[in-house]
Symmetry: C2
DNA sequence: CGGCAGGATTGGATCGTTCAAATCGCACTG
DNA sequence: CAGTGCGATTTGAACGATCCAATCCTGCCG
């Protein structure tokens, strides 16, 4: 099979290279009749734009980079994987591709940015797992590299576009569901204060109880199944023990299930599905699609001057445990 | 910051562009003294090869594509994600990057190959989840696209390089472990015959029992936690019930755990870790690294004429259930 | 019927790298 | 000392797309 370049198409359609280029990049500049003729030639020859050549001229690669994390703690890993899948789909729809990289820590990640940017001229980055004092966003912002974060800029002024899930709304929905089912003492099993996500999940539970004039005990432990079981056992020894528990993660919930029937987890991981645990599910495909939307706006230079912020609402997936 | 090209470096080092290129691509062609001078200039200027320009000339993009699968059944999804992480690491080490794509089915995937190859001129593909009558490998082979599969070519003649995990060795290790612990009747919970992986897992168990002169019942069900529980319950009603079960997946094992203390799963997923299930673990980072090794051999044109086949041995991760 | 405005189309230059071939420099030989 | 050989280095062209400026139509107006 011969190599098909823009010149081949031009010959076939009886026009110049530039006209073919125009048909592809700014169709309305070309007269309709010509446009159709060129399109037919493209179709016939199976022509596809050579990205490398285009990139060399325009400086844009139509490639965006995302970090893939090690499945460190295992149970919650799948959240990012599902996000990644959604992002790959959303990117493809808009003519972009996703490239992966790994990094041991923030500093390593920044070094990788430098590499990727100069070698591959990546168009943009999608950052996940934002956290307090994140050095990555300022590095990228300083160099004017387009990026979007999945996760709000904790603690920092939000000077960039982001998409996040409303964690508090998730535990709020869980708590409301339990209240509706007649529970009056509903406990919470969460992480130690300080992590933005964890604090938000706790707050959603607390607010809802307060609003309903109900109450329940609260425990803060390092995430893990055993920790969940131990903490749940302890909450149940209280003078007025809870009849249901809202948990900040499926791991904690899984542990708690050993002590108590009515439990709600968070993140709707594979584990939850496997054991029939009711859990709060993040709309990951949608989050990914919104990230791409924002990115494309940024790349096309039609982003609003105040960076976009998007807060998505999670949903409660009902199973056996609540 | 100015754009640093190969010409900038050449000026600084007082040599020609080509010499700089040689220092990068075939260092031993350049005199040592010159080489060092050029290296210093590269360092000083922070020069990095522009991949787009290089690709345009050489036709090689240093990009490898892998399909990311939807977390369809959830529980086993993480196997591929862990493989992906390993692959990204291994690729980076060899100067390659991993690009993702999604596809609904084999036909869709083949269409994507066509796209990716002509638009991005991908260097190679890594295929996962090979199966009987897989149309993807022949498509790629016909077009002489370099690729490696993670998973052997089931049923087909193996005309391409592949890496796989010795599934039978996994269940063999599990069964031997149970025998060593005094169990004499050991059952197997697996999938219906026909899937290469499932059959191999069953065979490993059967062989080991036969060799030891022991025996045990066998059940074949569609994967799932509930299915595992039901099937396990049934096996236990036999006249001579098993005292331990080897399972083809963690999902099945998780279900079986409800009926029986001693159970071994397969794939060492997050679920297994979470609930303390003993499970057979695939050496995924190693498998990924070997895939990259084979790919680089292929791409450098120094692959042996008989395609390489690598069978890796999984290991048994002992936890509470065995 | 010539001139003109405006959009459509064309040719040439360019992006940064590597390939292929030419040139340089130096030691060695007859 | 001219001639040869060989390794090191340089020069010019090319990859395939887009940008830019120049040219070509076409219809319309005076």
């Amino acid at each position: 099979m011969e190599k098909v370049t823009i010149a081949t198409v031009a010959d076939r359609a009886g026009v110049s290279r530039q006209t073919v280029s125009n048909v592809i990049n700014s169709p309305d500049m070309v007269r309709e009749e010509t446009r159709e003729r060129v399109r037919a030639a493209i179709e016939e020859l199976g022509y596809r734009v050579n990205q490398a050549a285009r990139q060399m001229r325009t400086g844009r690669s139509r490639l965006i980079a995302v970090r893939i994390e090690p499945v460190s703690d295992g149970i919650k890993g799948s959240v990012l994987d599902r996000f990644l899948h959604g992002l790959t789909d959303a990117a493809a729809l808009k003519g972009y591709r996703v490239m992966l990289y790994t990094a041991a820590d923030d500093a390593d990640e920044i070094a990788t940015y430098d590499n990727l940017l100069s070698a591959y001229e990546l168009d943009a980055f999608v950052l996940t797992s934002t956290h307090h004092g994140d050095p990555r966003t300022s590095w990228l912002a300083e160099r004017q590299v387009p990026f979007v974060t999945f996760g709000r800029p904790w603690g920092a002024p939000d000077t960039h576009a982001w998409v996040d899930v409303d964690n508090a709304a998730g535990t709020r929905a869980a708590t409301e569901h339990l209240l509706a089912n007649g529970h009056r003492r509903i406990g919470f099993l969460g992480w130690p204060a300080g992590s933005g996500v964890g604090d938000a999940r706790r707050a959603g539970w607390r607010e809802t109880l307060d609003a309903a004039g109900a109450d329940g005990p609260d425990a803060a432990v390092i995430d893990g199944v055993e920790a969940g079981a131990t903490a749940a056992a302890e909450l149940l020894t209280e003078p007025e023990p809870p009849t249901a528990l809202v948990c900040a993660s499926d791991s904690l919930a899984l542990g708690a299930m050993r002590m108590l029937r009515t439990v709600v987890g968070f993140d709707d991981t594979a584990v939850a599905r496997a054991v029939g645990l009711t859990s709060v599910s993040q709309p990951l495909p949608e989050a990914a699609a919104r990230c791409m939307d924002l990115l494309v706006e940024l790349l096309d230079g039609r982003a609003p001057e105040t960076p976009a912020r998007l807060l998505l609402t999670p949903s409660l997936v009902l199973r056996q445990t609540a």
